[in-house]
Symmetry: C2
Subunit: 282 residues, 2 copies
């Protein structure tokens, strides 16, 4: 068979392996250039057409519950609650100055931060479950779901706003600081960490409401919804950015509930694993 020109690295493989790879390569299986090549599982939409997203599957899409109460707020009573509340409020001040009314850019930038706590919390609970030989009650999955949901917010807003170089640099710096601060915070007091995220989500709901106002008064163009959003939130064809902001805001309200709930569980002197986790809550 015709030996396809393989990269230098491939050439150093055992002859027999290279034959196999070359053979597969010649048969047009380009993507499996590696001897260990694992082909992605083929997934199609209900109507049989190809599913073109690799980071989420049709059964992971959903219709957001827009009926969720956006006004719910956790009245900070204990000192720790007040500390969490004012920590978040103090972060709001410089953020408002930096972004002014540029809510598209704000959403995109803040989602790079919002997607960190769920991943850090999920990872720390995963490691705890391992070293203590104990179950998680589903909370690892609930927090990792939140992190992935927030990352999908970013993947969506990336389509409608392009970050400038200094915004990219800012994101690098902020992630480095926030990741370590939250990692430490969660190790020390998950009660406090979840309360902070609860209040961050309350602020996010407020910001997305402002975003809607800017869209409605025409300051931000109500462009068509990105394809990824239409598939991910099962939005009707022809949906616009406004419809996307509505479902994203509903997601934030769900994260608010999950995190305030997680903090409350600690307030009751219990561990998360003692209360079944709200998996698939959106």
């Amino acid at each position: 068979g015709s030996t396809v020109a393989l990269g230098e690295k491939e050439a150093t493989r055992l002859p027999q392996e290279r034959e196999e790879v070359a053979e597969r390569h010649a048969k047009g299986q380009k993507e499996n250039v590696s001897y260990w090549g694992v082909p992605p599982s083929k997934v199609t939409k209900d109507d049989g057409t190809a599913w073109n997203w690799s980071c989420f599957r049709p059964w992971e899409t959903y219709k957001a519950d827009l009926s969720i109460d956006l006004k719910k707020h956790h009245a900070p009573l204990t000192a720790l609650d007040k500390l969490a509340f004012w920590t978040v409020k103090s972060m709001r001040f410089p953020t408002d100055i930096f972004f002014q009314r540029r809510y598209g850019c704000r959403a995109m930038m803040l989602e790079t931060v919002a997607a960190v706590p769920g991943m850090v919390g999920g990872m720390l609970l995963h490691c705890k479950s391992l070293r203590r030989f104990e179950h998680s009650g589903g909370w690892i999955k609930a927090l990792l779901e939140e992190a992935e949901n927030e990352r999908m917010h970013l993947m969506t807003f990336m389509e409608v706003a392009k970050p400038r170089w200094y915004e990219r640099a800012l994101v690098f710096a902020v992630q480095g600081v926030f990741f370590n601060a939250y990692f430490l915070g969660y190790l020390i007091s998950p009660k406090f960490a979840h309360r902070v995220v609860g209040y961050l989500e309350e602020e996010a709901i407020h910001s997305y409401t402002e975003f809607l106002k800017e869209l409605d008064n025409g300051n931000i163009e109500n462009v068509p919804a990105p394809a990824i959003a239409i598939d991910y939130w099962q939005l009707p064809k022809g949906s616009t950015l406004r419809d996307v902001v509505m479902v994203v805001r509903a997601d934030e309200a769900h994260h608010r509930d999950v995190n305030h709930f997680a903090s409350d569980i600690h307030y009751q002197g219990r561990e998360l694993k003692e209360a079944p986790a709200p998996i698939g809550y959106h």
Copy 2:
């Protein structure tokens, strides 16, 4: 309504909130003691009976593909491959001495380590996707799936072997060292990190083959399979520990393929996101 005796912390809440919580509590919704209480979604088996696991759902269970080639091995050709290979081989030596032929205990202890790389890799790819505003190609999900799969191995073997206090202490120490070492290793060279995991999985397949031998010659009692294993791997009723070890070994072989593949992608000078991830490969 009768006010249920609530914990001191609950008593400090706003009166109106406490009434609501007390009311719900009186109506027997014990688990939602929190104002933010999010009830877990009710899930049932196909036969309508209650699903009693909170960390995995019926649609996340699967039949392991036992036909996978257990002999596949990556011949270490480059210096980095050889370093990975000997790193793993050198870890095998003290492990064999510590565990001798106690493969039940060995499996349980090593699964606490095996579940770390997937989580660390998934988390680092997640953070990279955020700060670079780029897609992941599904690899975050593929690696987190591996980590959760390995954790389920632990949840299973925990049912048949009970760790002693010094084994628990050892797991604490090993996790602290391995987590940080792998975190650093992955930051520096994902190519090397994935190759190490590939070789660790090759060793795991070997150990599980030895475990089967000990079961077959009666040195380890072939107890009934734990309930969690029967549900997770869709095993027939009446399955035994031997059946569990067979499906766990098949899982390890799938992880071996995914990690050697991930390393190969780096060897070809590409990033993981450029090759669609093998999600749901088991």
